[in-house]
């Protein structure tokens, strides 16, 4: 309860800070309107393309069994912990001005593509959200009872009939929610817009907040834009609340259903191509980072290693804060009925880190040097960003524990701290490890609030990497990207493993 109040208070404080300084009287300038339009346009395009491309991939994964299928499904979860700036660098290597794709086009005598502007922002958002959409659709596909597919096989339905009888109703049910979720996520995207967007024609509101803050140091305008962002993203999330699907990154999707349909050669071929293309699209940039990074490691300056240590420290603090917030909240939510309370966690997805950062900056500024508090504030904002995912995993976990062992605990008189110490925490360990790993990886890879607060002497690894990119030291940036990627995967692995290590009796 107190934790929930703390989160609300933290957001409200930021909101109050923003309100106190917002200069609404001036109204919206043309560039503000352009930012609003661009924000909505890129989010719409990103969501639409992600969902449309996800349908054939999810369908292929739902009806094919092949060695390595489990690995492919696991890979679809990877963007959850992949630092945005690392992926952007990978996309630049593949699709950038002198990237692999343009080199190929050049050989064929075709004009090159530009990755900057709307194309690039949408491309990066699709890179991150195509896997998410695929997972959510796959989840829906696998919820179709196998009896229905048995019936389909009995009736020997043609693909068209199968589509009309089973797949279309399914898609109609889940696609709006998946679309809405990705739309909301893309509204508050910052790091992608920072690196691939910019300029008057490709600036999101989130980026505009940063620019007003960082370049013009116009707190009034930054506050006004934050307010705008809050209304837009918060409004969209509230409207979509009924539609939003449950996001559980650990859902068991590695269980393929027995299917008897879709045995035709064309269908097999199409499914194979879908899966292969998706894999290529996802693995290409990651592979590019690894290849470039190995070459660039030698050129990495000492400041990168220092920043890596800083990032690790911030991540650990963030995990500790997350646990302090998430556990009491999860316990409180699990104790009441299902419904609204859980949905509120999803609103967190629409919370804008830069809005919170701006608000706190305004609040802290009169009392202390905000730059001195850059790292703790980053850790706290990271923890709040990870909170919806942690609650999604912990709340059902606590419910299961209480359902299975609640009566036994009650006959033994276990309550309060003893109940947590001897029952809930040990039973929850795998989920705690997973949530902590996710939070740590998110925090290690986050390029958000830190960009607002940081001074030249204080940088996390993503910020340091961004600075290298900004200085066109691409080799060193690639080396830093490889270190960042390894660090994010490592912290996730350590926590997730730690949670499952010697975990008895599942």
């Amino acid at each position: 309860m107190a934790a929930a109040a703390l989160v609300v208070a933290a957001i409200l404080a930021a909101f109050a800070g923003v309100l106190s300084r917002a200069e609404i009287a001036g109204g919206l300038s043309t560039s503000d309107w352009a930012a609003i339009r661009f924000t909505i346009l890129q989010a719409l395009l990103s969501a639409a393309i992600s969902v449309v491309l996800a349908v054939p991939v999810a369908r292929a994964l739902a009806r094919r069994r092949f060695p390595g299928r489990g690995l492919v499904v696991t890979l679809l979860g990877a963007p959850f912990i992949l630092p945005v700036i690392v992926a952007v660098l990978g996309l630049l290597v593949v699709f950038g001005r002198s990237g692999w794709v343009n080199a190929g086009l050049d050989l064929l005598g075709l004009p090159g593509l530009s990755i900057y502007g709307l194309h690039g922002v949408v491309l990066a958002h699709v890179f991150f959200n195509l896997p998410l959409a695929t997972r959510l659709l796959l989840q829906a596909w696998q919820s179709v009872p196998s009896e229905r597919f048995r019936l389909v096989a009995q009736l020997d339905l043609a693909p068209r009939a199968l589509f009309r009888a089973v797949e279309w109703p399914l898609l109609k049910q889940v696609v709006p929610g998946v679309f809405a979720l990705i739309f909301v996520i893309c509204l508050t995207s910052f790091a992608v817009a920072l690196t691939l967007g910019g300029g008057p024609r490709a600036t999101t509101i989130e980026l505009a907040i940063y620019q007003a803050f960082r370049f013009d140091f116009d707190l009034g305008r930054a506050a006004m834009l934050s307010l705008l962002q809050l209304v837009l993203a918060g409004g969209a999330a509230v409207l979509a609340l009924g539609l939003l699907p449950s996001v559980s990154p650990d859902a068991g999707l590695d269980r393929p259903l027995q299917r008897w349909d879709a045995r035709g050669g064309t269908q097999r071929f199409a499914d194979g191509v879908s899966i292969l293309l998706a894999l290529l699209f996802l693995l290409g940039p990651i592979l590019a980072v690894v290849l470039r990074g190995v070459a660039g490691l030698a050129q990495v300056p000492a400041s990168v290693w220092q920043a890596a240590a800083t990032s690790l420290w911030v991540a650990m603090l963030s995990v500790a804060l997350l646990m302090a917030l998430a556990l009491p909240m999860a316990g409180w939510i699990a104790g009441r009925g299902r419904g609204r309370v859980e949905a509120i966690g999803l609103l967190g997805l629409s919370a804008s880190p830069l809005m919170i950062g701006t608000g706190w900056f305004i609040l802290i500024n009169p009392w202390a040097d905000p730059q001195a508090l850059a790292l703790p504030v980053t850790a706290l904002v990271n923890a709040m960003m990870a909170l919806p995912f942690a609650l999604r995993s912990l709340v059902p976990g606590i419910r299961d524990v209480l359902r299975d062992y609640g009566r036994l605990a009650a006959t033994l008189g276990l309550s309060g701290w003893a109940l947590w110490r001897w029952l809930i925490l040990p039973r929850l360990r795998p989920r705690l490890g997973f949530a902590a790993g996710l939070a740590a990886a998110l925090s290690v890879g986050d390029l958000g609030v830190i960009a607002l607060f940081a001074d030249p002497d204080r940088a996390t690894l993503p910020l340091q990497m961004y600075r290298l990119m900004g200085a066109y030291r691409m080799e060193a940036a690639a080396g830093a990207a490889l270190i960042l990627l390894s660090l994010a995967l490592l912290v996730f692995w350590v926590f997730d493993r730690g949670g499952r290590w010697h975990h008895a009796g599942t």
Binding site: D404, Y405, R407, L408, A410, T411, L412, G413, L414, S415, W417, A418, R421, W422, L423, P426, R427, H503, A504, G505, T506
Partner: protein, 230 residues
Amino acid sequence: MLELEELLIRLGTFELRATMALREGRRYAVIGPSGAGKSSLLNAICGFLPVAGGSVRVKGRDITADPPGQRPMTMLFQDNNLFPHLTLRQNVGLGLRPNLRLTAEDEELVAAALARVQLGDHAEKLPAALSGGQQSRAALARVLVQARPWVLLDEPFAALGPALRAEMLDLVENLVAETGAGLLMITHSPEDVRRIAEEAIFVADGRAEAPMSAADLLNDPPPALRVYLG
């Protein structure tokens, strides 16, 4: 004495009424058709189901509103009677101290209880490392250290084979004899009733009848029980 007075359990449209007085140190079987409310009756006595009316009293004290852990009774469920992540020693220890801060004296009691059910060598094992029969015995060891005046069994041995179940019932009979506790057990099998129970409570048609001599009840069953026994 465990007294139920005008006890009323209501679950949706289902209702069960019970009025009876049970004596400590005696063994009662609860029999009746599936869905008649046997489990609901025990859950209500133990405090897991809120009662819609009437009272539960033990030794004259009204415990109707007490939380389960503070009632002078312990219950074994159909499953999940042990925490799978804790060793047998810890599981049994929780019966003495909910915070598991065991004194040297407590440790001796736990060790003695485990030895009593022939699990002395398994104290540091997790339940998953044991057979079904051993797990049941470990749960009984915990019941033993809890030493509550009443022991309630909601078919905890249902998953065991007939020979093993008979062995467990004999062990239960000995344990309650040692602690002087009263026993209230749900069963589906007339043999179990004959084997262990002195009296039987028949539950059917929304009523839990006052206990009768188990032998009399089985030898000359009332019509409703006759239908159930077949």
